[in-house]
């Protein structure tokens, strides 16, 4: 099961990102992970939140352009070589990664989470699952 990431268009000027986080904060939307892709002229904020549907509606109501993008969320152990071990599986299964970012779990747990954007989410999911990789669901992400 892939996870819905929210992608938000951000104009390149001071205060844009803050305006977005302000809107999310006002609606008590909890961020799990964030990543910012920037170019010379604009940026795209990528967010994993507890409630994707309400987050995207809130953003749209506040004049943001935003869309949902399916991504894969995978738990790894937070130790040297943890990511490397996982990427072995990607290589074996020939899954091409467009971008990825990470976030760590709770302070006590010894693991981290990786978010991957791949070209063909469904196919990648099937291949990685059969190779023994556990892919997290929306509910599992929300529960972190």
């Amino acid at each position: 099961m892939s996870v819905q990431q929210i992608s938000v268009f951000l104009e390149n000027k001071p205060g844009t990102l803050k305006k977005m986080t302000g809107v999310l904060a006002a609606h008590s939307i909890d961020l799990r992970a964030t990543s910012l892709a920037e170019t010379k002229d604009f940026g795209i904020a990528r967010l994993i939140v507890d409630d994707a549907l309400s987050a995207i509606n809130t953003l749209k109501e506040n004049d943001f352009v935003a869309s949902l993008t399916p991504v894969l969320a995978i738990e790894i152990s937070d130790e040297a070589g943890g990511l490397d071990k996982l990427l072995d599986k990607f290589t074996d299964e020939s899954v091409n990664i467009e971008y990825m970012y990470a976030f760590s779990g709770s302070k006590t747990a010894n693991n981290a989470y990786m978010i991957f954007r791949v070209a063909d989410t469904k196919a990648a999911e099937a291949r990685l699952t059969s190779a023994g990789v556990k892919i997290l669901t929306q509910e599992e992400i929300a529960a972190i």
Partner: protein, 433 residues
């Protein structure tokens, strides 16, 4: 069935029109010679006397009037009748230079309203229609002109003026308005707002729109027509000549019929001032042969367009003018190249962007810069940075080939460009020359 407000004159033969024009012109030149010392002096300088003007064929002998003359003669210097015979003034928005003030007698108002009534009927309006007028009322001619025309047709007229968009939409829906009159940029905004409120073309009672007072592209017409499920008609005019209704589109939506019994049109070479043959592109010049208070003779509009007398499917015989590329007042000279905002608009809409854009011109290190700022839309957004950049690059390429100069493209957040309720502010020229 095509409807006309004044069928006899709107569909008169070419010969008949020439006859009317000649008769009125001779009379008008005499009137101006006797009553407008400013123009009489111009005629004397050119060595022309009223008796030299015997028909329309002699029009080219008369001197031109331009905006510079209006400024020099400001405010009363071109008045054709004593002040006590005037009943109203209107004034330009003053976006370029000093305001122009035009005067009207009751007769002038009457013929102006006739022209607007012709435009409304050409757009399919009858006394059964509810005509929603969202042009500004006041000094601006838009509201008053269409309001008078709508009365003459017998429409139920809603003189709502501009502003308060949600209230406008409420009136349109509650009164089942069928005809909308406003600037094209405001029509686009109204359409956008209606969409946001969840109204599709079928929920909107409007069937036609009469949009003018600023240059707009064919692509913008298509987009407005689709959003609101209407037919959008162009209307043309200048305060100097009366206001909207100097020319208007008919059901053919292919050029605007000039009300030739009131306004004689010529196309001239703006450099040599020579009259050009039919079909040539050049500057539009008008002679208002019926106006008493503000009798403009050979007034140079600065609008660049073409005229055609090809037969029109609507049955009207009056000459048609093509959509002006934009007033030469709107024209920007960037790095020596003439750029019309309407060309930029065409490229943006062709590339899938909306009509919410702004053109920022500046000068950095003695070189002009052109920045086209357009709002990101849900349709154009994707999570893929490369794809957005590709589209941006394609847009820049298309602008380059349309304009002949390089333009930067900036993508802005939605709703970051202020929506206009009257004429849109499209150009910000920061150059200090």
């Amino acid at each position: 069935m095509e409807q006309y407000f004044q069928q006899e004159i709107e569909c008169a033969s070419y010969e008949k029109i020439r006859e009317i024009q000649s008769e009125k012109l001779v009379k008008q030149v005499k009137h101006v010679w006797d009553n407008v010392p400013y123009y009489r002096k111009k005629m004397e300088e050119k060595g022309v006397k009223p008796e030299d003007i015997k028909s329309v064929d002699d029009l080219h002998k008369l001197p031109f009037l331009s905006k510079a003359d209006l400024r020099e003669a400001y405010p009363y210097g071109l008045l054709g009748v004593p002040k006590d015979q005037c009943v109203r003034i209107h004034s330009t928005s003053g976006t370029t230079g000093k305001r122009v003030i035009a005067f009207y007698t009751q007769h002038d108002l009457d013929l102006w309203e006739d022209c607007c009534a012709r435009a409304i009927m050409a757009a399919g309006g009858t006394k059964d229609d509810v005509c929603h007028i969202a042009y500004g009322f006041g000094l601006f001619t838009g509201g008053a002109g269409l309001n008078g025309g709508s009365h003459k047709v017998g429409c139920l007229t809603v003189p709502i003026s501009s502003g308060n968009t949600d209230r406008q939409i409420m009136f349109i829906k509650d009164l089942s308005a069928t005809i909308l009159c406003c600037t094209p940029s405001y029509a686009a905004y109204l359409g956008e707002r209606m969409q946001e409120l969840g109204y599709g073309p079928d929920d909107i009672p409007l069937k036609a729109g009469i949009f003018g007072a600023e240059a707009w592209s064919e692509e913008m017409r298509q987009s407005i027509q689709k959003t609101m499920g209407i037919k959008a008609f162009d209307i043309y005019g200048l305060t100097e000549l009366s206001g909207p209704g100097v020319a208007f589109e008919c059901s053919a939506q292919n050029g605007m019929h000039i009300n030739e019994d009131h306004f004689i049109a010529e196309i001239i070479d703006p450099e040599t001032e020579e009259v050009l043959p039919e079909g040539s592109q050049g500057e539009l010049v008008f002679t208002a042969v019926d106006k008493e208070a503000f009798p403009m003779i050979r007034y140079r509009t600065r609008d660049i367009c073409t005229l055609t007398r090809e037969k029109c499917s609507c049955g009207r015989t009056h000459v048609r003018m093509g959509k002006p590329m934009g007033r030469s007042d709107d024209m920007l000279i960037i790095r020596g190249v003439n750029v019309f905002p309407s060309e930029i608009e065409t490229v943006l809409l062709n590339n899938g962007y909306g009509a919410n854009y702004q053109i920022v011109v500046d000068r950095v290190n003695n070189t002009d810069t052109l920045d086209v700022q357009v709002e990101m839309t849900p349709e154009m957004f994707t999570d893929n940075v490369g794809e957005i950049e590709e589209r941006q690059k394609k847009l820049m390429g298309d602008l380059k080939s349309m304009l002949g100069i390089k333009a930067k493209v900036s993508l802005l957040a939605p709703k970051s460009i202020t929506r206009s309720e009257g004429k849109a502010v499209r150009v910000i020229d920061k150059r200090k020359i």
